[in-house]
């Protein structure tokens, strides 16, 4: 368990945020945490039941949602994008 800073663009936002999460979270939980912090703040709130995916910039395939952040092969301040499900899910 350690604090892990990620550089996050929640797609639709005007820029990147530094989202600090626990590396024991799964990628799916990281997306939820980013949504808690940013949806309804800089982008529209999530619709009920709306799902999210996490991608590395320029990659079509999302990171697996159930893998732990600590095991996802990312470095501190890695850049990730949070997509709403309709994009490339």
């Amino acid at each position: 368990m350690a604090a892990f800073p990620l550089v996050v663009n929640f797609v639709g936002d005007y820029g990147f945020k530094v989202v600090l999460v626990d590396d024991a979270l799964t990628i799916g939980q990281v997306a939820s945490e980013a949504a808690r912090q940013l949806a309804g703040v800089v982008v529209a709130p999530l619709a009920p039941g709306e799902t999210l995916s996490v991608k590395l910039p320029g990659k079509a395939v999302p990171l697996p949602a159930d893998v732990k952040l600590a095991d996802a092969g990312l470095i501190h301040l890695e850049t990730v994008e949070i997509h709403r499900a309709d994009v490339g899910a």
Partner: protein, 498 residues
């Protein structure tokens, strides 16, 4: 007593490049401080400043300028201009005095470098006047800011800013240390006197003083005008040096210095002047948009000057033109959202009428930048003020020191330009910022942005600790400059629609 006319003695009197007998030339003018381009000594003999002034004339003129500025200030001191000014204008004054004063002071020593290490006698002479100018600019900024201290603590930042690690201040230091304080005197003249002073200070001082006069802020307008008239003189040190570099086959080097400095200054002035002109200046007092002013001043006048000299427009001109449409709009969002991190009381400047103006000046504004403001407006209308300040820190560019931004919305584009160097990942807001780093990585590597410091645990990882690290006393933290009154037109619109 009969006196010689200035032109009869001036040129001779400033030819002080005699042959040293007690020290080596290299000790007198060390390469690192005088000229990294290794121009021959006699190359500098042809330096000819377009603007010539004697010390006697200089002192008389400067005295007149000060008398003018201070008497306008005294005449208007009893009025209630500040109290009655629009919130946006207050924000502009607070931002300007906190952000610009210590740069003026820094320029005193930057010109000192030209005075001591410049290799042309004329350059040393003009740089001496430059230092004196910058002392005056510092003094007039401090004095005028101090008048407002009793009205808002934000004006404390005219004195306080340089001693803090506020993110805006870190960004300014990174930029101006690069172009003003850590270059040889020849490169300094190209980067500071030419790129920064000829091009960008005009933006802040010509455009802003015109806005100030229209707004009725005659004290501020007069102060800015007296500063601009100094800039018009000492900025001209750069051009003769550029000519000398080009004549001696250093065109590529000169172009690179220009390209680096232009971009670095652009990244500072786009948020500063761009936000002041397009968001803080009350709508009825705006004459040109920031973009229009830049197009006229930079794209036309400055570029013509560059091309006349035998250089090209910077290689990234297309990127610059795109940035001109977007960067300051994204920064304005961040500046308002993260208002507690600034010493000034930011205003959104996005009333329905202002949005119409923005859409007209920047077509597509509503479906891009406007989408984030829509979310903010919903939150303010619903009383969710806690949701108007994001919980996570903004990411910061490792070159500009400003937020790493792009264009929001469905048609938006937000891109990070990363670079791995010696085991560390750097993040840049544009290809140009990354390119600058790559030109001389060791110059920039190792600098920690506020985010790097946060991520490495230099301060406890929470918002309060970050604010304390930045020396933002609770009473100084920026709030909405209108106390959210700006949202009322939207409440009325929605009331009608419902």
């Amino acid at each position: 007593m009969a006196m010689l006319k200035t032109e009869e003695w001036y040129d001779l009197a400033r030819q002080t490049n005699w042959t040293p007998r007690y020290v080596d030339k290299q000790d007198l003018f060390p390469r690192e401080l005088s000229d990294l381009h290794d121009l021959p000594d006699d190359a500098f003999d042809v330096f000819d400043e377009p603007y010539k002034v004697t010390y006697r004339d200089y002192v008389r003129t400067q005295r007149e300028k000060d008398v003018g500025a201070y008497s306008v200030r005294a005449a208007l001191a009893r009025g209630r201009f500040y109290e009655n000014a629009a919130p946006g204008w207050k924000a502009l004054l607070q931002l300007h005095f906190g952000g610009a004063t210590f740069l003026e002071y820094g320029s005193v020593s930057a010109f000192g470098r030209g005075t001591r290490f410049g290799k042309a006698g004329g350059m040393r002479n003009m740089s001496t006047f430059g230092s004196l100018d910058e002392i005056r600019h510092t003094q007039v900024h401090l004095r005028f800011a101090y008048d407002y201290l009793g009205k808002s603590r934000a004006f404390d930042w005219a004195h306080k800013a340089p001693r803090t690690d506020n993110w805006v201040v870190i960004s300014e230091r990174h930029t101006f240390d690069d172009i003003e304080h850590t270059r040889d005197a020849t490169s300094f003249a190209v980067m500071t006197n030419f790129a920064f002073e000829t091009c960008f200070t005009n933006l802040q001082f010509v455009a802003l003083s015109a806005d100030a006069a229209r707004f009725g802020d005659h004290t501020f307008a007069t102060m800015l005008q007296t500063i601009q008239s100094d800039e018009a003189r000492h900025s001209q040190i750069g051009e003769p040096l550029l000519r000398i570099l080009i004549e001696h086959g250093k065109t590529v080097e000169a172009q690179k210095l220009l390209d680096i400095s232009f971009w670095r200054c652009w990244k500072q002035f786009s948020p500063l002047s761009g936000i002041c002109m397009d968001y803080y200046t009350p709508l009825e007092h705006r004459e040109h948009s920031f973009k229009e002013f830049m197009q006229e001043w930079v794209s036309d006048q400055f570029i013509r000057k560059i091309i006349d000299l035998g250089l090209d427009r910077p290689w990234y001109w297309d990127i610059f033109l795109e940035d001109l449409e977007t960067f300051h709009h994204a920064q304005q969002l961040g500046v308002w959202l993260y208002r507690p991190t600034g010493w000034w009381h930011a205003v959104p400047g996005v009333s329905p009428e202002e949005r119409d103006w923005l859409e007209q000046k920047y077509p597509g504004w509503n479906e891009t930048f406007g989408t984030v403001w829509d979310v903010i407006i919903d939150n303010v209308l619903e009383g969710r003020l806690d949701r108007t300040i994001p919980e996570p820190m903004p990411m910061i560019c490792n070159m500009s020191g400003f937020e790493l931004t792009g264009v929001p919305g469905k048609k938006g584009k937000v891109v990070d330009y990363p670079l791995d160097y010696k085991g560390r990942r750097y993040h840049f807001g544009s290809e140009v910022d990354r390119w600058i780093f790559q030109q001389e990585p060791e110059r920039y590597a190792g600098h920690l942005s506020l985010v790097d410091r946060f991520a490495r645990g230099v301060m406890p990882q929470n918002a309060e600790a970050v604010l304390q690290y930045m020396d933002m006393a609770p009473e100084e933290r920026g709030t909405d400059g209108t106390n959210y009154a700006w949202v009322e037109p939207y409440r009325r619109l929605r009331g009608k629609a419902a």
